[in-house]
Symmetry: C2
Subunit: 213 residues, 2 copies
Amino acid sequence: MSRWANVLPDREEVLEAKRKAIIREAAKVFNRRGSHGATLEDVSERLGVTKAALYRYVQSKQDLLFACHEEAMEIARESIDKGEAEGRNGLEKIQIGMSGYLREMIGAMGVPVLILEENALTGRQAERIIALRDEFEARMRRLVEEGIADGSIVPLNPKLAMFMLLGAVHWVTKWYSPDGPWTADDVADALIEMATRGLASRPGAKLRARIHK
Amino acid sequence: MSRWANVLPDREEVLEAKRKAIIREAAKVFNRRGSHGATLEDVSERLGVTKAALYRYVQSKQDLLFACHEEAMEIARESIDKGEAEGRNGLEKIQIGMSGYLREMIGAMGVPVLILEENALTGRQAERIIALRDEFEARMRRLVEEGIADGSIVPLNPKLAMFMLLGAVHWVTKWYSPDGPWTADDVADALIEMATRGLASRPGAKLRARIHK
DNA sequence: CACATAAGTGAACGCAGAGTAGCTTAGCCT
DNA sequence: AGGCTAAGCTACTCTGCGTTCACTTATGTG
């Protein structure tokens, strides 16, 4: 039945691995060119196949875009889970959550942040992604409120704080290159430290992340 | 020669006003849908004309996109000019510059921030916009350095700080709606106060902007 | 080895949307 | 009023790209 003690990759696994690879490259292309500007040929080229080959793994371009967004939201959810589990107050939860999110997003294996364009997704798919995003934003906002309540964050508008942090984080895909001098970890630590310092009730007198020297 | 004491709009003026209106609406559409996802019909519809009519005022979609970016960079330049002129130290210059920028961008008459997608512009036009953007970013970075030197900003990586601020500001177009409860002024003040607090060497114990209550 | 099935290719097809051409209407001047 | 030009519209053309189809090449099995 099973040969080589099952060390050989299974059909299913190979298929899933390829699908993952497609999603990862597609996300990069969608990010750089926008969802309409990106062509399936851009994606297939990066993978060394023709665009027709992609259709063995995805149903349509829409489907692919949706999968990218789902993946991104999944990472967001896991990150905020981690933050909630490990942080000792609202501020720490946010810091842990956001820096994990950022690291995953721009790190070697990760999926870059996707900016959702209006009408890029439609119908059920749009609803689903927007629901996930809203849930994520609501959880972030609640962490800010928690931080204000426990005294780790100064009184401020939670929604605005949440948007400020998300902006700082999502913008990273516009300038970050893994080929540059900074690692994903460096950037995640330094950026989150700086951005959350604006919220902290007792902001440190110095910044400690490596990039700030 | 001149009738009605020149209160009647001149041909040239009308033409220019229409062109401005096109640019303003186009910028909104480009922002929401992405530069490839935006159609000229979207733009013309908002102006109550057909897309063919647009071609009396712009040469091509590319041309229009370029004009939008030029306009945005012009506002950026003016804002930073103002910040440099009026601020008393690095931090203040940044605060004044950025909040002016944001106000102009999202305010009633302004052009929303444009996110430059790779390959949306090409050749000379791309070069020009990228050069303007680089110049703007360099000036911002220098203000951060100035702030560190004059003691208003804690020692940190100036480039990263600049990117953080730009992210927070540019992201605003993704969530701000003029129909919501907040005015452009409200948002500009509150957001910039919060974001720059992360850089300040002596961050205020409270946030004063109206939105933070 | 022969065969079955999966994986991938190159060449179409079709459609949305940029851009154009020629006609119609509106505004202004004498 | 008549005529001139600007402004706009309707109805096209044309191109790029998503998607499909018929075919070829690889992979694994009895």
